[in-house]
C-alpha cells in the first residue's frame, strides 16, 4: 500500500504495525489502572496530594517534560524526513531524539537523589508511594522505548528503511509518542495541581 494511498484516507492504517498497537493498547490499559489508583488515593487524601506536590522538584518534572516533548517531536521529524526522501536529516533527527531521550533517566536519577536528600522516600506517605509507583513504571516504559530507538537508529543507518517502507521507524514513533502522552498526563498530576 503506497504512502499516498494511506494518507489519502482511502485506506485507514495502523501507524507502524498492528503488533505495536497491541503493545500500546496494553500500555494504555496498564496506566489507566494506575491513574485510577492515583485518583482514588487523591479522593481519599486530598490534603496529602496538595502538600506532596509542593515538596517535589518542579525543575526535574519540567525538564523531563521538555525532554519527552522534544524527543517525540524529533522522532516525528525523522519519520517526516524519511518520507520526503531526506535520509541524512532523518538520521540526524533520530540521533538527536535518542540523545534527548537519554537525558530522561539521568534527570530521574538526579531527581531521586534530590528527593532522598529531602527525606522523600517511597514510604513518606500516600502521595509519594503513588508518585514513585507511577513515575518508576513510566521510566521502565521509556527505557524500552530508548532501547527500541537504538535498534531503529542502527537499522536506519544501515539503510533498512526507505521512503516507501519504514514501518519499523513509524512503530517506534507510535510507541514513543504514546509514552510521551502518558508523561504529559503524569506531569501535571504530580508537579502542577496543588
Amino acid at each position: 500500500m503506497s504512502h499516498a494511498a494511506q494518507m489519502s484516507g482511502t485506506a485507514r492504517r495502523f501507524p507502524g504495525n498492528k503488533g505495536i498497537w497491541v503493545g500500546i493498547s496494553c500500555e494504555f490499559l496498564e496506566f489507566a489502572v494506575m491513574f485510577a489508583l492515583y485518583f482514588i488515593a487523591r479522593a481519599h487524601h486530598p490534603e496529602a496530594f496538595v502538600a506532596g506536590a509542593e515538596r517535589l522538584s518542579r525543575i526535574a518534572g519540567t525538564a523531563i517534560t521538555l525532554v519527552m516533548v522534544s524527543s517525540s517531536f524529533l522522532v516525528a521529524a525523522s519519520v517526516d524526513a524519511l518520507r520526503a526522501g531526506l535520509r541524512p536529516r532523518a538520521l540526524a533527527c533520530l540521533s538527536a531524539a535518542l540523545v534527548l531521550a537519554l537525558a530522561y533517566p539521568l534527570v530521574k536519577f538526579l531527581e531521586i537523589g534530590w528527593n532522598l536528600d529531602q527525606g522523600i522516600g517511597g514510604n513518606s506517605g500516600i502521595f509519594f508511594t503513588v508518585y514513585y509507583y507511577l513515575t518508576f513504571n513510566h521510566l521502565v516504559h521509556a527505557s524500552w522505548g530508548i532501547i527500541g530507538m537504538v535498534w531503529v537508529l542502527a537499522r536506519l543507518a544501515w539503510g533498512a528503511y526507505t521512503p516507501e517502507e519504514h514501518s519499523g521507524l513509524e512503530a517506534l514513533g507510535s510507541y514513543w509518542h504514546a509514552t510521551d502522552i502518558i508523561w504529559l498526563v503524569i506531569f501535571p498530576l504530580f508537579y502542577v495541581v496543588n
Partner: protein, 97 residues
C-alpha cells in the same frame, strides 16, 4: 514516492507543546489553591495529548481502532481530574472498601 516535508507544522506543534507545558506550570503558581485550577489543567492536558495524537501519531489517517484507543485514553485522566476535584468526597465514599 517522496512526499513534501511537514517539518514547519511539526515545529509549530512542538512549540505549542512547550508553551502549554510551561504555561500550565505558571498557572499552577498563579491559581494556587483555586478550585478552577484542576479544570484548567485538565483542559491543557487534553489539548497537549490531542496535539501529539493528531500531529505526531497521525490518528486522523489511522485505523478507527487506533483513533478510538487514543481518544479514550487522552480523555480519561482529564475527566477524572475534574470529577475528583468537584466530587472527591462522593468518589472516596464510592471507592471505599
Amino acid at each position: 514516492m517522496n512526499v513534501r516535508s511537514r517539518l514547519p507544522s511539526l515545529t509549530l506543534v512542538w512549540l505549542a507543546l512547550v508553551a502549554l507545558s510551561l504555561g500550565s506550570l505558571g498557572l499552577g503558581g498563579w491559581l494556587h489553591g483555586s478550585p478552577w485550577l484542576p479544570l484548567l489543567v485538565a483542559a491543557i492536558v487534553w489539548c497537549k495529548c490531542f496535539l501529539v495524537a493528531r500531529r505526531f501519531i497521525e490518528v486522523g489517517s489511522a485505523h478507527p481502532f487506533v483513533a478510538r484507543v487514543v481518544a479514550v485514553f487522552i480523555a480519561l485522566a482529564p475527566a477524572a481530574l475534574v470529577l475528583t476535584s468537584f466530587f472527591g468526597d462522593a468518589i472516596a465514599r464510592w471507592a471505599s472498601l
